[in-house]
């Protein structure tokens, strides 16, 4: 009989014990998938949301714009650059945007804030959170003679204005001179994030270009949206190698949104500690089972060694028992976790009752639905991690088995 068969049979000597331990590994799979899947989903949503709100996964801007933003630092020939970006493999889309600080004034009040100007023809509710958050009115016409503006609902309240009313906004132009313009409010957005709703406005790109003295192909930034945000560093480095982007600054989201990157790093660390705790609990269960299984068979191991089995083969035998235990646990884990993952990735749990319609994390608006998403590498990491853990937990009992002294375990020969 080969060692594999013997190990398999040994495992089923105590069906209940093996089942409980395999279940604990399966539960570990479920928890690991839930924790990792929540992280993969949550971080991706945050990064994507942050990218859609302003700077993209990759930001192309005038050198030093990110460190010290100024209306004087703007990209020229932006449309040409944008078209080149759209040809790059891995780039989903690229938006031309102008960003700036502004003072908004009504007849009664002045409020400081900021604006983002987008190309109404390029951006939609699907890829722009401000447009998605439009709760009243409509977008300004891209080519209207009358400049329109969309205000955050709280900013409008502070200014005591509503749709159809006029607002004066003051900003700086391409030369750093102060310029003012008047606009009629065409809509209000409500993201749920107080700071954004109370200070931000959305303009059409052409309006902002006209007021700031930019030409048609001059913008603050090109916000590049990638198919996969995890490729942002590689994409940044690739773009930097291309001649077309030598004269501009190419940054990835971690550089343009260091607060968000920092919060994700901290959250990931916390998540990893939780997962480590789960791993230790699973490992303790396996260790306990394997150790009990070895200690109660010391005499049997003594006999095996007496009749000529080597310590090495005995070690391998017990390791194979751990191996099969891990395989059973992982298979059960996959069977149990798959429907849970499918439900959670497609439907999820609506947490709007607890958090409201939207909540922010790291200054980024989040969807209140708790969902899971696992990247391929996370699946592999979970399976290899738990499998390795099971083998590692079996190593000490296997080592104990290999150190059996027949004469001591066999009280009589």
């Amino acid at each position: 009989m080969n060692l594999n068969t013997l190990a398999w049979r040994n495992l089923w000597r105590h069906k209940r014990r093996t089942s409980i331990t395999a279940s604990s590994i399966a539960f570990g799979v479920l928890l690991a998938v839930t924790f990792t899947g929540a992280g993969d989903y949550f971080y991706t949503r945050m990064i994507d949301a942050g990218a859609n709100m302003g700077m993209g996964h990759i930001t192309v801007a005038k050198p030093d714009y990110n460190r010290a933003p100024s209306s004087k630092k703007y990209l020229q020939d932006a449309e040409n650059l944008r078209q080149q970006l759209l040809k790059v493999d891995g780039v989903s889309t690229a938006f031309s945007r102008i960003q700036g600080q502004a003072m908004f004034a009504s007849a009664r009040k002045n409020i400081g804030g900021g604006f983002i100007a987008v190309d109404i023809n390029q951006e939609t509710a699907a890829n722009n959170l401000f447009i998605k958050a439009l709760i009243k009115g409509r977008l300004p016409d891209a080519d209207s003679k009358h400049t329109g503006i969309i205000l955050g609902v709280d900013l409008a309240k502070k200014l005591e204005l509503d749709i159809g009313k006029k607002v004066v906004y003051t900003t700086t132009d391409a030369n750093g001179e102060i310029v003012s313009a008047i606009a009629r409010i065409t809509g209000l957005f409500q993201t749920g994030e107080l700071q954004i709703d109370g200070s931000m406005a959305l303009l059409s790109l052409s309006t902002a270009q006209k007021i700031m003295g930019y030409q048609n192909d001059e913008v603050s930034v090109l916000a590049v949206i990638l198919n996969d945000q995890r490729q942002s560093v590689a994409m940044r480095d690739r773009l930097r190698q291309q001649d077309a982007f030598k004269q501009v600054e190419v940054l990835n989201w971690e550089q343009t949104q260091p607060d968000l990157a920092g919060m994700i790093t901290v959250d990931k660390s916390t998540n990893k500690i939780s997962q480590l705790m789960i791993a230790l609990l699973v490992a303790a269960g396996i260790l306990n089972t394997m150790l009990m299984s070895v200690l109660e068979r010391m005499r049997e191991f003594g006999v095996m060694m007496a009749v000529g089995m080597s310590p090495k083969r005995l070690f391998i035998l017990v390791m194979l028992e751990s191996f099969w235990l891990a395989v059973i646990g992982l298979i059960i884990g996959i069977i149990v976790t798959t429907p849970w993952y499918i439900y959670m990735s497609q439907t999820g749990i609506d947490l709007s009752g607890a958090y409201g319609e939207g909540f922010s994390f790291g200054g980024v608006l989040m969807d209140p639905t708790f969902k899971l998403r696992l990247f391929g590498e996370s699946i592999i990491a979970i399976l290899i991690g738990l499998f390795g853990l099971a083998l590692l937990s079996g190593a000490y009992p296997a080592w104990r088995a290999g150190r059996v002294t027949p004469v001591e375990t066999l009280k009589t020969l």
Binding site: M1, L6, E300, V303, A306, V307, G308, L410
Partner: protein, 230 residues
């Protein structure tokens, strides 16, 4: 007289019991010859098991030499001792000590598997040996599906299937009733007489002593008598 398979030369085995050192085996000199059907007898604690452990390479002598087929066991590594036990020594234990998850066939084949014997040869040898010990037709039974006597027969099959130089049996009839003991003794005696297998028992059972061709009395670690029956 046949050549000595086992030679013990002035062997001492000392154990420490707390502050006291006890010589479990004390200056024992003994030869076991091919074809012997010998019983080591004596009261509990007399040193019988210690002598078997030393011959079986399960323990090492404090002084003196234990030589098996011309090889001084003290000179061998643990791996080499494992090899010797696997190929040259058969063990029969008092409480059978079969592996519970294996069938009679698999238990008997266990040592052959360790030796890497090919499947066909292994199958033929095991089936023949099981038939020799009276277990033909029971090869698929597991230990918990067999009587004590049948289990001990499987243990004997496991011990002899490799054609060892010597079979060491510790109280082989201690856990079975007298009828079963008689049939086991018949079996071992016939294996000894028909196949020339060398047996060395430790026992207090008078039936075993009566059936042995050679009786070695052990007391306080010494051999006090060594009688060859006519």
């Amino acid at each position: 007289m046949a050549a000595a398979i086992v030679e013990l030369k002035n062997v001492i085995k000392t154990y420490r019991q707390g502050e006291v050192q006890v010589n479990a085996v004390d200056k024992v000199t003994l030869d076991i010859h091919k074809g012997d059907f010998a019983a080591l007898c004596g009261p509990s604690g007399s040193g019988k098991t210690s002598i078997l452990n030393l011959i079986g390479g399960l323990d090492t002598a404090s002084s003196g030499k234990v030589i098996l087929e011309g090889v001084d066991l003290a000179t061998l590594s643990n791996t080499a001792l494992s090899e010797i036990r696997k190929s040259r020594i058969g063990f029969v234990f008092q409480s059978y000590n079969l592996i519970p998850v294996m069938t009679a066939f698999e238990n008997a084949a266990f040592v052959l598997d360790l030796q890497g014997t090919n499947k066909t040869e292994c199958h033929d040898r095991v089936m023949k040996t099981l038939a020799d010990v009276g277990l033909a037709g029971l090869e698929h039974r597991r230990p918990d599906q067999m009587s004590g006597g049948q289990q001990q027969r499987v243990a004997i099959a496991r011990a002899i299937v490799t054609h060892p130089a010597i079979v060491l049996a510790d109280e082989p009839t201690a856990n079975v009733d007298s009828r079963t003991a008689e049939s086991l003794l018949d079996l071992m005696q016939s294996l000894n007489e028909q196949h020339g297998i060398t047996f060395l028992f430790s026992t207090h059972d008078q039936h075993v002593i009566d059936r042995a061709k050679r009786v070695i009395h052990v007391q306080d670690g010494h051999i006090v008598s060594d009688q060859l029956k006519a």
